[in-house]
Amino acid sequence: MAIEVRIPTILRTHTGGSKTVQGSGDTLAALVDDLDAKHPGLKNRLVTEEGKLHRFVNVYVNDEDVRFTGALDTQVKDGDSVTILPAVAGG
């Protein structure tokens, strides 16, 4: 078992075109580190230099927006499903 992560079109350049990748970790932060080790550059697209999630990247764990569950500290476990979606937003 692992954590399944759905990758949006714009980030698939980091995953060789894959829509879905697998990762592991106890928290979202650890999962992101694990993903970045396998798919270099991914972390930069999700996390700011200050170590926070980018404002306009939405991450969901089992359909729950992580902004409401502790952001990068959100607990994850094998079998969870994580979805990354860039915000559709503008001015």
């Binding site: 949006p8 079109t9 714009i10 698939r12 350049t13 075109g17 306009f56 939405n58 969901y60 359909d63 927006d65 902004r67 979805t83 979606l85 860039p86 915000a87 559709v88 937003a89 503008g90 001015g91």
Partner: protein
Amino acid sequence: MGGAGSPRLGCVLRIDRATYDAIVAHAREDHPDEACGVVAGPEGSDRPERFIPMLNAARSPTFYEFDSADLLRLYREMDDRDEEPVVVYHSHTATEAYPSRTDIGLAAEPNAHYVLVSTRHHGEQTGLAGDEVEFRSFRIVDGVVTEEDVEVVESYLFGHSPTTVVYD
């Protein structure tokens, strides 16, 4: 499905009259706030077929953002139907129908046609008889904006087998 380096599907947005009208009507309705939504179509088809107006969670005359729960539902649904956002549209209510710096910075669908509608001169805004809504389409890839022609066709149903068309 494409992405950086792959050939463009074409430098024109072909859109049917009913969908075009629905986008303009949504922009008028929500004026002076920005309206937003997508038109989904079969992956790789470049055919905007399914009009999906979205709530502007920012409810602002200068900003738009899909609600995060709505966003997840929308993408899940498109995924289940093997669709992608062929058009991502929003309105500008006081400025021209051209992507703002924010629009360019946040554009995250390299395969989409970004449609900008401006209601700055629409009837209710000016109170004048002359009524005009600008409708323009762009590709936004890696921060580069390319305007494209908009070709309004009467119907996408014409010439297609009805079984391939998604009715809503």
